[in-house]
């Protein structure tokens, strides 16, 4: 057995060993071992040039990652949490996402940015939000959300091979997730959503930690005689619309599950795509289970009530089918 955290570390180690142009930079990635212990031991293995501790200057070290990428390196920039990435939003949007187009195709930015996202650890409103949908709004970026051990390890490799900026959102609630990893890394594609459970009565479309909430809900629904298909979006931009629309068309019912706020989020986009492309095949309006529209609170019961729980998904799915 291994963990999601160890899978991320395995992906990093493999990437660093594989290509001298790869380096990791961010706050506490080296001496401390990573704020969530993801990069533990890598400083000893690869040295301080390539496991590069940065001052608390998100804009400068993200921008430096962009510049280094322009200069021929393959930087992996770690941002401690998604909320801190807002301090680097200028660099991510105005430079990383924009330079290729604005330069008429001359300057691509092969940069990878990893950051922790999501609620569930009682870290309150400045460490717990799910802003990956925001980033998925931006043309020029690729936004990926590993929810399984294989994706935690493999998405990094594929992201590094991408000539353009890729943002990897690692859900903080998943670091301790246990599972098996093969000895040899699998090649992971970033172009397709994954059907994590097959079903015929409705399609649950989700990503990140909510995949596991949704799978647990599907188990309970199954016991009630409802067969739910569960799709892991994996990549929020560009969206693999074909996979989830085809599934929704086949089952006739769709439910989107996400921790992020409901209004204007990626779930709204998924629902819109299903409505546009699959409307005549639907037996019910597209349902949504999303985060409550509050800044994530500290108290355990308040936080739990702010984000989708298994009960919420079961209730919404049951309501769609019956």
């Amino acid at each position: 057995m291994t963990t999601y955290r160890e899978a991320l570390r395995a992906g990093l180690r493999e990437a660093l060993a594989d290509d001298d142009r790869v380096f990791l930079v961010g706050e506490d990635v080296g001496r401390y071992g990573g704020s969530f212990a993801v990069s533990m031991g890598l400083l000893e293995e690869f040295g301080p040039e390539r496991i590069r501790d940065a001052p608390l200057s998100e804009s400068a070290f993200v921008g430096a990652g962009i510049g280094a990428a322009l200069g021929g390196m393959l930087p992996i920039v770690e941002i401690m949490t998604v909320n801190f990435s807002l301090l680097a939003l200028d660099q991510i949007l105005n430079n990383a996402a924009t330079l290729l187009h604005m330069s008429g195709g001359q300057f691509n930015v092969p940069l990878v940015i990893r950051m922790t996202t999501g609620a569930g650890r009682q870290l309150a409103a400045q460490h717990s939000h799910s802003l990956e949908g925001w980033y998925a709004h931006i043309p020029g970026l690729r936004v990926v959300t590993p929810a399984t051990l294989a994706d935690a390890r493999g998405m990094l490799r594929t992201a590094l091979a991408d000539p353009d900026p890729v943002l990897i959102f690692e859900h903080g609630g998943l670091f301790g997730l246990e599972g098996e990893l093969p000895d040899v890394p699998e090649v992971v594609d970033l172009d397709h959503a994954a059907v994590r459970r097959s079903g015929k009565d409705l399609t649950i479309i989700t990503y990140g930690a909510c995949l596991h909430t949704s799978l647990a809900a599907a188990d309970r629904l199954g016991a009630d005689g409802i067969s739910a298909e569960v799709i892991d979006l994996r990549t929020l931009r560009p969206l693999d619309t074909d996979t989830f629309v085809a599934s929704a068309v086949r089952t006739g019912r769709a439910l989107v599950v996400e921790q992020a706020w409901r209004t204007g989020g990626i779930g709204a986009e998924v629902a819109a795509q299903i409505s546009e492309l699959g409307f005549w095949h639907l037996d019910a309006p597209v349902g949504r289970v999303a985060g409550l529209e509050v800044p994530i609170p500290y108290a355990k019961h308040l936080e739990a009530a702010s984000i989708p729980q298994v009960d919420d998904v079961v209730a919404a799915a049951t309501g769609l089918v019956r």
């Binding site: 510049g67 322009l70 660099q91 008429g104 001359q106």
Partner: protein
């Protein structure tokens, strides 16, 4: 040496005349968007860039015509860009504020004040990690000093001993806000010194003084001493952009600075040294005028950036993947 001083003069005059024509074209509607003129500040880009090697990199701001021209982007490609044409140096995607050129390692006009500084640090980081003796020069205005990205990058570049030259073009006004209305301490070099790097002020109206300072600074940076900060004291003779009615400056102040016009100052010296006379100047001006005429007719007759390629280069296609990702050197 003689030729070199004349070349400095020619470059400054070329930038001046180019922009004077841009004003006419703007008034005529051929150029739109924002147009920020460098008139009055030509000595800065000319003096600094003359000291660079072809493999060095430049990050500039939205006031970037001078830097691009002196760096060697063709006048045709710059003019075509401002006309929104397919042959523009940014394929019509950037306009006046966003000139780019991979061949000369010109990483753009960045129109977010201080937004280019972290990128310049990163280009320098790549050079250092790859063992290349290259320098990245980052130009920005004194307005950038008020931004957090300036301070973050000064610290990061110094901490990591990155080969980057920070060139602060202090023209005294951040759009309409005078330096002493935005900075508690108006001594800019002192701020850089606070980040443990060499920093000094230079008369940015004097192209030869600028060149001497740039040569010394670039030598320091290239030899591995870490970043250097130059404050180049200069002045724009025109408004911030074509939209700016320029109500915040005393006309007498502008006239005082015009007495130190960088082009006139060098012209006087060259005449005194017997290197320039009326007929040589006339010839120079005529040659520059011909180059501008050629650029304008090229831009006028070039094809518009094609609509069916509008969505191209949001992500790389096969023709773009090879640019900077593997070599990082001059293309």
């Amino acid at each position: 040496m003689t030729d070199h001083r004349l070349e400095l003069f020619r470059q400054m005059l070329r930038v001046r005349r180019f922009e004077e024509r841009c004003v006419e074209l703007y008034s005529g509607g051929s150029i739109r968007g924002f147009l920020h003129l460098y008139i009055g500040e030509e000595a800065v880009a000319t003096g600094v860039i003359s000291q660079l090697r072809p493999t060095d990199a430049i990050v500039a701001t939205y006031r970037d015509h001078g830097h691009a021209l002196v760096r060697g982007l063709s006048m045709r490609s710059i003019m075509a860009e401002m006309f929104g044409k397919a042959d523009g140096c940014s394929r019509g995607r950037g306009g006046s504020m966003h000139l780019f050129d991979s061949a000369t390692r010109f990483y753009g006009g960045n129109a977010i004040v201080a937004g280019g500084l972290p990128v310049a640090a990163g280009l320098a980081l790549a050079d250092r990690m790859s063992g290349r003796e290259q320098v990245t020069v980052c130009f920005f205005g004194e307005g950038a000093v008020a931004e957090g990205e300036f301070h973050e990058t000064m610290n990061l570049a110094s901490l990591w001993k990155l080969p980057v030259l920070f060139c602060c073009e202090n023209n005294l006004y951040a759009m309409g806000t005078a330096l002493d209305r935005s900075e508690a301490d108006t001594d800019l070099a002192v701020k850089a010194t606070g980040y443990a790097m060499a920093a000094w002020s230079v008369d940015g109206m004097d192209v030869e003084a600028t060149e001497v300072a740039a040569r010394r600074a670039i030598d320091m940076v290239r030899s591995g001493g870490g970043p250097v900060f130059l404050e180049l004291k200069t002045y724009r003779f025109r408004a911030h952009s074509m939209y700016d009615p320029d109500r915040y400056r005393d006309p007498a102040e502008i006239e005082r600075w015009k007495e130190r016009d960088p082009i006139t100052m060098l012209e006087v010296r060259l005449r005194d040294d017997g290197l320039l006379d009326d007929s040589a100047l006339e010839q120079l001006d005529a040659d520059i005028g011909a180059e501008i005429d050629d650029a304008v007719s090229f831009a006028e007759s070039a094809a518009p950036a094609p609509l069916d390629e509008l969505s191209r280069w949001v992500y790389s296609d096969s023709s773009t993947v090879t640019t900077a990702t593997t070599t990082g050197g001059a293309g």
